[in-house]
């Protein structure tokens, strides 16, 4: 046991202390958090937008009179469908590399490219989550809103979306956690995120144990922390039910 502890201590020094290798981890962590944060914001923005288009179209396609409004809505719906199909049908690593090597071939801002790639990817999943939330609110709620004199958007804004948000919060939190872990493929475009930091240390010290277990623990702690935050938010939102 003493031997093992001593060995671990030596390993710890080799992997994290020597040559200031912990700097890779700290820098990587900040990159991972930055990319995740901005990608989540972008993803939710895109997702809500797409979800509103899709659910508005699904709910109203029968009653709408033919004309410019219907045409625009159908066109937006088709574009959303294509977006969802393409993004959900291809792996995020491939999307990231397409972004980096093809679409933004001339840009050197890797964090921006990663935020766009992960945000656009996440947006597709968020869109379906939010849409399921909007569709899950009882039609009677909508009719009640309209009969009280709210127009379509007011009903959405004040009656449907708040209820939908509560319904989808667990799924959204899950999407956030998935995204946080998904950013671990950022190393493919030489972005030094947390996982790549572990890889770099591993390539210097050739001891896989501590770098890998170390970054795994950091991811785990982050996920546990965010899960707790979401739990608190959920509890708070439930107050209104009493």
């Amino acid at each position: 046991m003493g031997d093992w502890l001593e060995k671990m201590q030596a390993q710890f020094e080799l992997n994290f202390i020597k040559d200031n290798r912990w700097r890779y981890i700290v820098d990587g962590l900040s990159v991972t958090l930055k990319v995740t944060l901005f990608a989540v914001i972008l993803g939710i923005a895109i997702g809500v937008f797409i979800a509103i288009i899709r659910s508005t179209y699904d709910k109203n396609k029968k009653e709408m009179r033919p004309g410019l409004g219907k045409f625009v809505l159908s066109a937006l719906n088709v574009i959303s469908q294509v977006y969802l199909t393409v993004i959900r049908g291809t792996p995020v690593v491939v999307q990231l590399m397409i972004m980096y090597y093809i679409i933004f071939a001339s840009s050197n801002n890797k964090i921006l490219v990663a935020v766009l790639a992960f945000g656009i990817n996440s947006g597709a999943y968020v869109a379906e989550i939010v849409r399921s939330g909007i569709m899950s609110v009882d039609l009677g709620q909508f009719e009640a809103g309209r009969s009280l004199g709210f127009n379509y958007f007011q009903t959405m804004r004040y009656i449907i979306v708040p209820q939908a948000f509560k319904n989808v919060l667990p799924a959204l939190a899950n999407e956030f956690i998935v995204l946080l872990k998904e950013t671990s493929v950022a190393g493919y475009v030489a972005l030094q995120d947390l996982t790549k930091a572990g890889d770099i240390i591993r390539s210097r010290t050739f001891s896989p144990f501590l770098p890998l277990i170390g970054i795994a623990l950091i991811y785990l702690v982050m996920v546990m922390f965010f899960t707790r935050l979401v739990g608190m938010l959920e509890r708070r939102l439930r107050n209104s039910e009493r």
Partner: protein, 269 residues
């Protein structure tokens, strides 16, 4: 009907065996057992070589297999020692962990002997010399290695994670505040980024550099070298293989086989 299937099966097996034997015939030495006594010969042990087959001409994918200088030298060594031979392809920075954990018999990937690596593995004698060169775009501000180390230099330097280019440059460029190192999983990815102007130069081994420059227009290799180094095969610490392989390797160097293999890939252009 059953008999018919048996005949088909037997024929297929014979064809497959012949093909397999023909496949290794080229690279293995003459003291290979004859095809006929295959059944009687004792079970041969297999040497598994770990490599990163993204490093032409030392190792690269061609058709269904991995070929190159390292692959052929290793096959020749295995043949001389009477082992079967297999190649496993992995990320460059996974090779040493694979060797130390015993997942593979040895690692051979244009790998340079460095003090850090010697702490984890044993190395064979050197079988080839590698040169680390710098690839830049045509008309780049960087015209010699010294430009990278000039006062106030601040370039984005691309490398492959865990290669000697990465290790040296992390130290003497990034460590000295003379630029940023971008670490790619593959040399080709770094070169791709250079071609699109994301980075200013790539530090990489000379031979793959030549192939990359040939494949991408508008790139060139600087005349001055970044570093000169010796390639060797790595083994788990204290492995008995080290000595055996060294013996076979030195014989192959002495009889010109190694040089012939190197010439075949490097000078035959």
């Amino acid at each position: 009907m059953k008999k018919f299937f048996k005949v088909i099966l037997a024929t297929t097996m014979v064809v497959a065996m012949t093909a397999a034997l023909a496949g290794c015939g080229g690279s293995q030495s003459a003291d290979q057992p004859k095809a006929g006594d295959d059944n009687e010969s004792p079970q041969k042990e297999t040497l598994i070589m770990a490599t990163n087959a993204e490093f032409p001409p030392y190792e690269f994918h061609e058709g269904q297999g991995i070929v190159g200088i390292d692959a052929e030298i290793a096959a020749a060594i295995a043949g001389k020692l009477g082992y079967d031979f297999e190649i496993e392809d992995m990320a460059f920075d996974s090779i040493i962990p694979a060797v130390t954990s015993g997942k593979v018999s040895f690692g051979m990937a244009g790998m340079t002997v460095t003090p850090d690596r010697l702490e984890s593995v044993d190395f064979s004698d050197s079988y080839a010399t590698g040169v680390q060169v710098i690839i830049v775009k045509e008309g780049s501000q960087i015209t010699s290695v010294d430009d990278l180390f000039a006062d106030g230099a601040n370039y984005n330097v691309g490398v492959q994670t865990g290669t000697t280019g990465d290790i040296y440059a992390s130290d003497d460029i990034e460590g000295a505040g003379l630029g940023t190192i971008e670490r790619y999983n593959k040399g080709a990815d770094a070169v791709q980024s250079l071609a699109t102007g994301k980075i200013d130069c790539v530090i990489i081994d000379n031979e793959p550099a030549k192939e990359f420059v040939a494949a991408n227009e508008g790139l060139k290799i600087l005349d001055t070298e970044y570093a000169v180094e010796d390639y060797a095969i790595c083994f788990a610490k204290g492995s008995e293989l080290t000595e055996k392989v060294n013996g076979a390797l030195n014989e192959l160097i002495a009889d010109g086989t190694v040089q012939a293999i190197i010439d075949k890939y490097i000078n035959a252009e």
